[in-house]
Point group: C2
Chain length 186, copies 2
Amino acid sequence: MEKADRRFSVVRNRGGIVREQPLVWREEVSPGDKESVHRICELSGFFSAEEVDMAVELVEERLAKGVASGYHFLFAQHGDTVLGFACYGPIAGTESSWDLYWMAVEEKRRGQGLGRKLAAEVERRTRLFGGRRLYAWTSSRDQYHPTRKFYERLGYSHEATLRDYYKPGEHLVIYVKQLPGTPHSP
Amino acid sequence: MEKADRRFSVVRNRGGIVREQPLVWREEVSPGDKESVHRICELSGFFSAEEVDMAVELVEERLAKGVASGYHFLFAQHGDTVLGFACYGPIAGTESSWDLYWMAVEEKRRGQGLGRKLAAEVERRTRLFGGRRLYAWTSSRDQYHPTRKFYERLGYSHEATLRDYYKPGEHLVIYVKQLPGTPHSP
């Protein structure tokens, strides 16, 4: 079923050139997204089993409490096939700070601009919700070097480092991006 | 009922000198603690209505999910009367970092060493659970100047400042205290 979806997501034009279908954005969260998020996190090649479980828990929290959970999701799809997702939301107790809790795309999609498009969509939606600062936490581990470079290219700036946060020698690195105000909330 | 408890919590000795009962520590959380936490937060004179609600939500989360919530509570009592509490717990995804999510004591108890005793008990218990770093987040607001000084006196060090985190001009200040290992986990 999923394989079929993925096959249909690629359109061969007359010249035989592979052309991608346009991306579809989806905000609604359904129980099936526990599986999508699990799959994408695993296919990203980035996360430990414990971290994958944490991502799935965000979905469960959202399913249980709705928007009151504080977790917004955004799924990037070709047809029904999820290629990547982001989880973000307002930080309770702050006026307009938002957190990009999680973002993952399939490893094979990397380098195709999907992560950049996903981040841009999250920023756009955060701005519309009134968010003015978007935080992204990541690790100082070598494995996350591409992640840190990714955020820097997107205009995030390094705000703080919490030494040995994850474990001795592995620090928490906090990035933040200031979002411009909307015309109605300058 | 509560007034009666509070009256009994003070013992007048022969010389008429007011002497406090020994503190009792309680870890178990019951539905009645929603009210205790609400009351202590209000009586602390420190928190906005929204913040008080956030503290009560921690209790609700703990009641709903037990220890799996990640929230440990510690109540400081005279008899059955709660004088202060702390909420702390392991930070998911880290090896041994813990968070002191919330701490509050009645305003009239301030300056009597209750906060210091509560913090020391939290540190002791965190260490026994294997925690090696205890984080405390607070605000840069003038109102929280005593809080920041309190942490500094207790040996917490300033780790990072996230500018404009709470709102423009109000920063997040992150403190951390390194806890010594237990004899069995050096």
